[in-house]
Symmetry: C2
Subunit: 195 residues, 2 copies
DNA sequence: GAAGTACTATACGTAAGCGTATGGATGAGC
DNA sequence: GCTCATCCATACGCTTACGTATAGTACTTC
């Protein structure tokens, strides 16, 4: 059988597993966990599925690998995002976070977040990954609310409301007028921050 | 071919389309739009798919019929739910709504809501149904916030935050301790209602 | 230069689901 | 009592995807 080409370098070879994962994330973002199918994935990578079963035991193996990677990435990143910059106040950090989550400089990240959370509603492993990410985020954001002067319980409640709002926004039909949306976002931020 | 039985009465016959829809909703609630498949549906109804194509043109036809029905039901129901009971204040109505949405006396309704909203992220027709429901709900709930003393813009913002919170809660990993969850819910209600 | 590692193509069998005939079976209306 | 509308069973062809088997290529390491 003429396979046309083999592995060019070992460096490149090790990249292939990452390529399957990367493309898997693209399909997850585009259509949810159901949409992550091996053969369409292979077509997008311009290979056949032969190599898939070298890197992964089966489809579930890919899915759990993606989940691990997603969880680790989110947990790593939240610690960086709550770190204040030069002379940045807690309120400024929270507003920056809110903008990052809602103004969607990274629509792919939002789509992934929603896809994983929907997945978690039917799958225990996904639910555990989501729970771990939520714990990490709430633990990092609650202290920011404490820095605003709220007690620990109130800060925890506000942190939860903060994240529920962020994800809920993605489920609500968007406000049609962009200016209205911005003004409304400002009002909501004021309510969340208590000022 | 011995089909075993035919139509017993016209009354019963007209019920069949409703049965397909009803079971369709069950599968939608259980596994999202992807999970609504004709042959499993038929098995659950203990019939073959032969009759399906009598009632519906194809799978998409069933799905849009379900969507219409869902939208109409939600729009009808919100008007009833915001109507205050005997001497019920606007605040009491809002707290009652919140309890209804979050304490999940009707888990099937919540599952449907989430399934349709996830569906809406990939499907324009579903997105339009969600948008119609959101418009109706926000239009009904904002006046309750106005009755609490907020101006129109602030009331609209709070109504949006109210619903974003409700749906966002369903995406966040649940708080493990039930008492904590209740106390936190009370705090969040106080923030939403501004008191 | 031989052996191993890291892939990839190709081919196969299986399963599930879609949509399309086609031919009953039954009750309703005349 | 015949016909029509309404519904269902059965069977078929097609497509998509899964997972396995097998044989091949190319680079690496010794």
């Amino acid at each position: 059988m003429d396979c046309g080409r083999g592995v060019r370098t070992l460096r490149e070879a090790k990249t292939q597993r990452a390529a399957w994962l990367e493309t898997g994330f693209a399909m997850l973002a585009e259509g949810g966990a159901e949409n992550v199918r091996i053969e369409p994935l292979a077509r997008r990578l311009s290979v056949t599925k032969g190599g898939f079963y070298w890197h992964f035991k089966d489809r579930a193996d890919l899915l759990t690998a993606m989940l691990d990677r997603w969880r680790d990435g989110r947990v790593d990143v939240i610690a960086r995002h709550v770190a204040p910059g030069e002379g940045e106040t807690a309120e400024a950090v929270l507003r920056r976070l809110l903008a990052r989550y809602l103004e969607q400089p990274n629509p792919r990240g939002t789509a992934l977040e929603m896809a994983v959370r929907d997945w978690a509603r039917h799958d225990a492993i996904a639910a555990e990954a989501v729970a771990a990410v939520d714990r990490a985020r709430l633990a990092h954001v609650a202290p920011l609310f404490e820095a605003l002067g709220f007690g620990p319980d109130e800060a925890a409640a506000r942190a939860r409301l903060f994240y529920a709002y962020v994800f809920g926004q993605n489920l609500l039909a968007p406000t049609t007028d962009a200016d209205d949306a911005r003004r409304q976002g400002d009002r909501i931020a004021a309510i969340l921050l208590g000022r």
